[in-house]
Chain length 225, copies 2
DNA sequence: CGTCTCTTTGACAGCATTCAACGTGTGTGG
DNA sequence: CCACACACGTTGAATGCTGTCAAAGAGACG
């Protein structure tokens, strides 16, 4: 567990640089104005511990939220896709950092929308739903991290990602093997080996490394009985 | 990962049997009446998937919430102590099961208190805080499960538990080694071995298996840099 | 004092990691 | 158009951490 240091520290992204555009637009759901911004691939959106002055909605692209240990080990908490909210905090500070997996378009909302909702304003219900769903997802993730084998983890990841991809059987992975590994609590090599094994066993096809066809979706699901 | 089946299935608790007393008492915080009930050690409070008709506050004793895989593998999500709330769900069903680690006294609140709060009623703020705190804790737990070694996990558990025990240096563990293992994503043997190693190294003393004195709290904290 | 559960310890096996080398794909410049 | 660099991904060999299987120790309780 020691040798990851130099290796992993290399991967820590550059400081935040939000190339915000000045456009403003309303948002029916939250009833609050938000400013659109673009973030380049691998750029940090906010750091763990940074002031939580805003939260975000993904318009396009993929976002990851993660935590780091002091020696560079990383745990990805979640990937966010178009339509997802992230960065809502109770504290004044963000408890995770957020980074762009691919080039992203986001809408930033002012934090006080959350505070307003908490005291009974509009959007309470929506925020509640979001928090409850995130909590349930994080609990499922903990079960996966604590009690599943590498094979089960990778299968679960593929099935989840496929479900979110409108049920299509070919999933396009926006993230690297390193991202997948840090999401599943594995190493990049184990992820790669496990995918190869799934392909040998006929459960998946990999036309390219980032394009995965789920040839036997049922078998993949069964791995997570 | 296979041989756990028969072994683990033995540990699944008996069906719910809430020996509710008929007393009623007001609760200043939530502004809602709750009924007091007692649950014996290892009894189930509610099952995963059961109707979430109520949520609970711990008056005395320790509660665990957990998830099971179909083969009996268990992941404990959290331990709750006097004053803690648990069982608040967005869905109609509980996403985790809850069990009494020790004999417990609880207050059950009607679920509609949550629904009322969601639509802007009293207690919104309190519920929000609870959810946000739980989410942050679960995210930390995921980092521990995914990226920490056995030694780091056990040290983190002891430090956490000590923090919650009013900072005293001698912690009384209400739970078994099996509970600790299922919380940390380890086996009972690894937990035991790791505790023995910490004792050999002088970081802790174990007068009894359930009484642990943190002899070198700083060193324990340093294990989780 | 025996029984039962919980815990500890030992020996061994196996899965995931580590370390290392080799492919593969893409973009750039000659 | 090809050569090269570079990042990303795959594969192999060996180590090691944690799990598995087994047995013995320690308390609690009747």
């Amino acid at each position: 567990m020691g040798g990851q240091l130099a290796y992993r520290l290399d991967r820590i992204p550059t400081p935040p640089l939000l190339q915000a555009k000045t456009s403003e637009e309303g948002d029916a759901g939250l009833g609050a104005a938000g400013s659109v911004l673009h973030v380049a691939q691998d750029r940090e959106i906010y750091a763990e511990g940074a002031a939580a002055s805003a939260f975000y909605k993904v318009v396009a692209g993929i976002v990851r939220t993660c935590k780091f240990l002091s020696d560079g080990r990383r745990q990805i908490d979640a990937f966010y896709r178009a339509g997802d909210l992230f960065g809502i905090e109770g504290d004044a500070q963000h408890s995770l950092s957020a980074e762009a997996v691919s080039d992203c378009t986001l809408i930033a909302y002012r934090r006080r929308c959350v505070d307003a909702a908490r005291t009974g304003g509009a959007g309470v219900d929506q925020l509640f739903d979001h928090l409850l769903r995130r909590l349930a997802q994080t609990q499922d993730h903990a079960l996966l991290l604590g009690r599943r084998s590498a094979l089960e983890k990778v299968a679960a990841f593929l099935v989840d990602w496929a479900d979110q991809s409108a049920g299509r059987k070919v999933v396009s992975l926006a993230m690297t093997r390193q991202d997948i590994a840090d999401y599943l609590g594995l190493t990049i090599e184990t992820v790669s080996r496990t995918l190869s094994q799934l392909e040998r066993d006929g459960l998946i096809d990999m036309p390219t490394a980032r394009q995965i066809r789920l040839a036997d979706l049922q078998a993949l699901r069964d791995l997570n009985a």
